[in-house]
Amino acid sequence: MKAIRNYVDKIKPNFEKGGKLESFNSFFDAIETFLFVPNKVSKNGVHVHDPIDLKRTMIIVIVALIPSILFGAWNVGYQNALAYGLDRTLLENFWVGMIKLLPIIIVSYGVGLGIEIIMAQKRGHEVNEGFFVSGMLIPLIVPINIPLWMLALAVAFAVVFGKEVFGGTGYNIMNVALVARAFLFFAYPGQMSGDSVWVLNLKDQPMVDGFSGATPLALLNQTGTMPSASLADMFFGFIPGSVGETSVLAILIGAAILIFTGVGSWKIMLSTVLGALGMGYIFNLFGINAYMGINPVYHLVMGGLMFGAVFMATDPVTATSTEKGKWIYGAMIGILVVLIRVVNPAYPEGTMLAILLMNVWAPLIDYYVVESNVKKRLKRIAVK
């Protein structure tokens, strides 16, 4: 640790004003503050700072994502082995998935951080660490077969139009990772939905007869029949789907980390789940078609609802910030997810759209929560 500190201090003058590598100042600053908590002292205003700054917070989210990443990598290999009738060990499956997943992660980070560094340098800011989490979330919510150029384009679009035009990290109104996914979803629907995109395909081999790469959600949406996978399979995540979202167990471990460290809001997670369950029960009461009649618990384990609820709805920048607002925001996400899934035949999955929609509504919810509080307190004065 000491050696790194000494080395960083030694090369620092090169990057400061007038140094040889001045134009890489933002990049250097990003690395330095990533490695060490910055020892900057405030000159006015508040002098006591929490040592857990934005970078440290973001790293906790990455740690919480690790179970999903590891399981996702294994599941890519596992689904691939199932589809082609291959006999592989657990480690081989993991290896196959990891080799396919790594380039996606590298492209996501490379493009996103590249744009951030250029923007920061141009505007004279330090590099914001907001993309650390987005860059890891994006690979986890796309199909494994996504072409890398498409991903690069989507990441560039999301960082520029989802974040930088609003002023950078902390000013974006919509979740950056979901903007990237929405871009892919609308621009290249053929690569983002259907039966063949979710399972890593080997070009030169035929699939096993009778194997369907459709996700349980797609099956329900298209045919109205219950998927063959059992509830336990879906809970543990042995089903086709986007890389990180299949295993509810891995997501729950992440959720525990987020809640324990106080980084993610348990209110949003819980209210999203309750909202989805509630809407599921309401549809059960009607029960017009098979989809409306399914057990609401299925909504929780299929598709990206849990992943979205834990890692995306809780994004502190785009979620509501009042406590009462969090309940409303989460519940509305849950309700909308199930509503879109069941009622809209064009979109088998509603998590992305529901969260993006509620991101836009979040400031309004906050505004009315604050207003109602002001009104309540004014009334108290009036009575006296």
């Binding site: 072409p147 150029w149 498409m150 035009v165 609308f186 621009a187 290249y188 629907p189 690569q191």
Partner: protein, 210 residues
Amino acid sequence: MSLFSKKNIELLKKPLNLDNPVTIQVLGICSALAVTVKLKPALVMGLSVMVVTAFSNLVISLMRNSIPPRIRIIVQLVVVATMVILVDQLLRAFVYDVSKQLSVYVGLIITNCIIMGRLEAYAMANKPWPSFLDGIGNGIGYAVILVAVAFMRELFGSGTLFGYKVLPKALFDAGYINNGMMIMPTMALILVGVIIWIQKSYNKELIDKD
């Protein structure tokens, strides 16, 4: 006064950049989103609006001293509507396929804010010739933005320009796919935004101070 004095040239030049009807005055956005999927309809639409704006300006400017102020909007509408019907008939006669693609949007030129805006702001108070030039200038300013947006949308959304395939087949074989988002009006709005962004970063005086 000569026909193309410095002041008159300025009438033609200003709407192209510093006073562009779409990007600076933010008028006529609706049709800019609707007709810019392909280049050809966008170009025809731009030309139609230019003709209508120019001749409505001319006619209203000729009549400006005899129009009672209280019914001026009605008079303006009658003139604009006449021009639009003429343009519509011409389009049907000579470019029927484009006319069908544009469908209601030719008729909706009547409600295009640029035209009413120029009539109220310029033609009602100026001589016929400058008014005509003002109409031409604003029409070109509108058409330029439409063509620029349509160029990007057709190139990346369909891989064609004026209906001809311009992207090489090798690109598609290598895995390139047309961007479906470009076909949607959403992307037209974002592209107009990008044009405003570029324009304002070149012309610093256009940036709002607050």
